[in-house]
């Protein structure tokens, strides 16, 4: 029995007004996040503890719309901001077939492409708690995923987006995001590497200018 089953029982048989999001009940659509005994979890993958008692609350750091339904509109805007699409100078024609990509090249960005946008990391992030403009773990990891993709040429453009405003440099490397991620993505690592990449890039451009 999972927390989501209990929520469904309650809304089916006790009080139909209980509002919560869910769909796949297999941990992949990312709709069903909530705080379970204080920790951000997917309710469809969180077992009910032996004691039979469990405290379920809406995810922290988001405006609550009703019961467990929180407003994630801000995140949806951040998604667009990191330009999560392949950027290239010249696009291949379809007739030319696929861009070859070796398994080890895929491996480089693979884990960062596994994010299900469930918002657990934002609920755990102290920086986001203090500043809602902060780009945050999931959006940063997604932008970084494209930077690591061998088919993409937009890394410089995207680094500016990822570090500008309330960007990656605001991250204080607490690492809670990676701990709560249900899909073993390591957004904390992505944020650190974005900082390094940005530093290296600006150093390079300073050196070029110096020449």
């Amino acid at each position: 029995m999972f927390v989501l089953d209990a929520l469904n029982y309650a809304s089916d048989w006790l009080d139909g007004s209980l509002a919560f999001r869910w769909s796949c009940r297999m941990g992949v659509c990312g709709s069903c996040g909530a705080l379970v005994n204080g920790t951000p979890k997917l309710t469809c993958a969180a077992p009910i503890p032996e004691t039979g008692e469990v405290l379920i609350e809406p995810l922290h750091n988001f405006p609550v719309q009703k019961d467990l339904v929180v407003d994630i509109g801000g995140f949806m805007e951040k998604l667009v901001r990191v330009e999560p699409w392949i950027i290239r100078e010249r696009e291949r024609a379809l007739e030319e077939g696929e861009y070859p990509q070796k398994p080890e090249e895929l491996e480089k960005y693979d884990q960062f492409s596994a994010c299900i946008n469930c918002m657990l990391c934002y609920a755990a992030c102290p920086v986001f708690a203090a500043d809602k403009e902060f780009i945050g773990p999931a959006a940063a990891a997604l932008g970084f995923r494209y930077n690591l993709d061998s088919r993409d040429e937009g890394a410089n453009e995207r680094l500016d987006l990822l570090t500008g405003g309330a960007g990656a440099f605001d991250c204080t490397f607490v690492g809670e995001c990676s701990i709560v991620c249900p899909k073993n993505v390591d957004p904390a690592l992505a944020l650190q590497r974005i900082k390094i990449d940005a530093a290296v890039t600006s150093l390079k451009s300073i050196m070029r200018r110096g020449k």
Partner: protein
Amino acid sequence: MVEKFSHDIAIVGAGAAGLRAAIAAATFSDKLSIGLLSKVYPMRSHTVSAEGGTAAVLKEYDSLDLHALDTIKGSDYLADQDAVELFVREAPSEVIQLEHWGCPWSREEDGKLAARAFGGMSVKRTLFAADKTGFHLLHTLFQHSLKYPSIVRYDEWFVLSLAVEGGAVRGLVALDLRTSELAFVSASAVIVATGGAGRMYQFTTNGVIKTGDGMAIAYRAGVPLKDMEFIQFHPTALPGTGILITEASRGEGGYLKNKDGERFLSRYTPEKMELGPRDILSRALVQEIREGRGFEGPFGAYLLLDLRHLGEKVIDSKLPFVRELALNYAKIDPVKEPIPVRPAQHYTMGGIHTDVNGRTPLPGLYSCGEAACVTINGANRLGSNSLSECLVFGRRAGLDAASFALSRREGGHNPGGDLSVSSEQYTSLAEEKMNRLLKKEGGQERLAEIRESLQSLMETKVGIFREDEGLREALREIRELKGRLPSAKVDDRGRTFNMEMVHAFELDFMLDVAESVAYSALMRRESRGAHFRTDFPKRDDRSFLLHQLSYNTPEGPRGEKLAVNVTRWQPTERKY
């Protein structure tokens, strides 16, 4: 105050099919304004759960004819062969297109796309992204779609009905889930890409959002549903939850075993064994259980899917999600133990009647994806054809709708044209319905009782095995449930995320779809593909090599027949 929006094209549904259509329309002309409505955020659409892969001919050892033949044979010869030929021709470039957009397809050592074996496919032709193909495909499409400013999203908007005037579609009525405010969206073309209707069954691999809304909405607008009797059951789902264990686990070499440790499929599909088509395999599993060779568990009888011999490395690289699902939801580590499985409802082969351009008989109305029935799937879909179908026909519907809408715009029409009745008349019908729910006093039954009654009757009477009397009973019971729904109890009187009201609308839609399934199943007095009649166990090409259309009437569905398009492959007996 009813809000009004206007777009050249309104797309209902943001799964693989809806997103592909939106991108196609946006690239066709940047002059077009495209509204994309979805009752969940796009990345929550159930495409996300697809695991195994996407079929397309991209390998030198394969051929278009072979893919076509496999598909047609898989369909038990009910697929329209012209549509299948077009489908197999266009699927490869769609897979490449997704690759160009960044989909993380799994690769061979040399960097080319990797292909795996799948049920009913005679060679390795299923391209995949580990065992999270649908997830990656959906996220890639969604992220790519963000590039186009002409695609205007309405996330968490619930579409209720279509506006039809002068014999053409003019727009739709939708509900903003945040506020329960109704809006009228006028459009020259509407594309319905709302997915399947699996939730009318008790055991299903489908998410809770798959309630057949678009099918019912089109049906109520006078558009026929086609081949609704064909419901696919997947042989391997987890007992209890219905969570899918992908066919890729057999594609990678997994075995199905009964209580005696026997690979029992040698008695059903001796040549293909575990890679036979789903209709035959699902029946085989039920047969084994009936003959006492299954295991008994807390959620009923089951059989075993054994992956142990594949080893941890293959399981972790090719089937990581299967391991995660088995561990989380069945407390079984497939590296060490076989996984308990049973058949569960999986896919609706039938749907809104369209041609190969996604056009329905109602001008301006299009459909694609699982909600539509072109049909390349006929009586039984082959696994991994459906994601490709969403891409190929999503694109086609998007392009055709775009050129239709553009010509209307250039002809000086407002999107949706000028309505002779005011748009308020369309929304007020919906408003009345909503108010009846929200302001109702009393009420007896809980919605869940009606929903569970429907799910259990579909499971037992319109399931893997069917017969005349059971189907007649099912029809009677569905009609009775329809009568009970209006007096059900509603607890939530609020207007913010009133999910109970949404579930009431969904149940209302599902009852219509279920009625059309039961009706078409009753009329088809033969067995073909996924439709098995114990009272007519043979295929009967003389009387039933035909599609069945059902039209909505106040007295219930009215049937019509339509010829199957046969080009090069004459129906023969199906053996695996």
